[in-house]
Amino acid sequence: MEFINKNLPYILAGISLGGQYALISIGYTMVYGILRLINFAHGDIFMFAGFAMVYLAASTPLYVSIPLVIIITVILGFLIERIAYKPLRSAPRMSVMISAIGVSYLLQNLAWYFTSGLAKQYPKIPWISGSITIGSATTPIVTIITPILTVLLVIILVMLIKYTKIGMAMRAVSKDFETSQIMGININSVISFTFIIGSFLAAISSILYFTSYSTVTPVAGAMPGLRAFVAAVFGGIGSIPGAVVGGLIIGMCENITKGLGWTTFSDAFTFALLIIILVAKPTGLFGEKTTEKV
């Protein structure tokens, strides 16, 4: 009990951070599922959403800036796909991957250019920045809201994929472009839709994440992006439940190692765990049996 009480804040923070990683991770896993592409720019889209909030909140009230941040992040994700990936649809997968890396650096450099590389203070969002006390632990409200919101969004997403026409089309396109086209599915629309969902979740995640971390920098998307990508691989890339479970595990690991006083080793520990899981189960926790070479 003593142990739980002492570590409760870390566990709560771990679940919350895990939820934030999970939301980013879904974007990686869905894009991979449909295009077999690791969207290296995804973490930078997340960073972009952070800066968008910094600038928008400075000039508009939050009830305007929050929806606006989400909308422009979605538009950014959509445009990146149309400009940098769609023209390469029939190119070798490696070319698309390089294009993704290019977009990632482009976004980071643009952020450096516009912010001079300085960390910007993230605005306080009254409903989620405050603190609340649970048992003996006082914790920011965001740590409670994140898991609830994550679960809600994941349920909606899973239902969308399972029960709607566009969801069925997404599953079809993820298996076979050509036959999907014969069915009359416009694969470009389906792919765009996938990027829109991924960017939407990244925008939500960025609001929750930067509220907890209080500043945004041009490289602020790199580590969360990498960890969320690891979470996707961990859970079995292509699988949405896998991304969520992977995100939670990575978030928990990070915070528990910090709770134990091993902050310096938290990443080393996380990646060691990843290696162990992948050695034991190369396709990740929920991965499909058929492996594909990237």
Binding site: A172, K175, T179, G184
Partner: protein, 232 residues
């Protein structure tokens, strides 16, 4: 209904189809037979827009559809039962049928019932994943899926491939029945015997060219066809 004029298709530098012309009259069954690599699948894939032709013309119901994208071609009432079935393994049987009707916004329950009447096996396996069906069942599903779009023209690429003789004759019965209901059929077959018996018109394709044409019966009696494709 479908008119192909001097169609040419290249893959990279290779000429797969070297200027073919043929016609598929409304409500007929037309078959295209030929050896492996003759360019039959390429022809069908070009008609439905998956491959862009290097030259020539494809007209459907008087309209030029050459080089249009598949969605726009399919929405005009052309469907393809692809070579190797290509059902969606991660979708259930019912979902595979529903996705066949993807472009339709009207009620599909009548058509579902019809397809299930044609293939009772599919009804029994409604909730099974497509990938777990046997080869024959997958072929039935591929045909059923194509019918769900209520096609005017159904193109079929080797529907009898790898099936037991009984299922093959079953599939051919269904082709005839569907045709009686007013669907025009363009059929590619290795099983030349069955195909020519069923078809009103046949074409023989060799290395990217059409070398012979005639009624199904005429071709069956043609000595060259007999020697090369019927093995008699």
């Amino acid at each position: 209904m479908l008119k192909i004029t001097d169609l040419k298709v290249n893959y990279g530098g290779i000429e797969a189809v070297k200027g073919i012309s043929f016609e598929v009259p409304e409500k007929s069954i037309v078959t295209l037979i030929g050896a492996n690599g003759a360019g039959k699948s390429t022809t069908l894939r070009t008609i439905c827009g998956l491959v862009k032709p290097a030259g020539g013309k494809v007209e459907f119901m008087g309209e030029d559809i050459t080089g249009k994208d598949p969605t726009s071609i399919v929405s005009r009432g052309i469907t393809l039962v692809p070579e190797g079935r290509k059902i969606f393994p991660n979708l259930t049987v019912l979902e595979n049928l529903k996705i066949g009707a993807y472009l339709r916004n009207d009620d599909i329950s009548e058509d579902l019932k019809w397809v299930y009447d044609l293939f009772p096996r599919l009804k029994e396996r409604e909730w099974q994943l497509g990938g777990t069906l046997s080869g024959g069942e997958q072929q039935m599903l591929a045909v059923g899926r194509a019918l769900m779009s209520r096609p005017k023209l159904m193109m079929m690429d080797e529907p009898s491939l790898g099936l037991a003789p009984l299922i093959v004759s079953n599939i051919f019965e269904i082709i005839k029945e569907v045709n009686r209901l007013g669907v025009t059929i363009l059929l590619i077959e290795q099983n030349a015997n069955m195909a020519l018996q069923t078809a009103d018109i046949g074409y023989v394709m060799e290395t990217g060219r059409i070398t012979l044409s005639g009624s199904g019966q005429d071709l069956m009696n043609n000595p060259d066809v007999k020697a090369a494709y019927l093995g008699t």
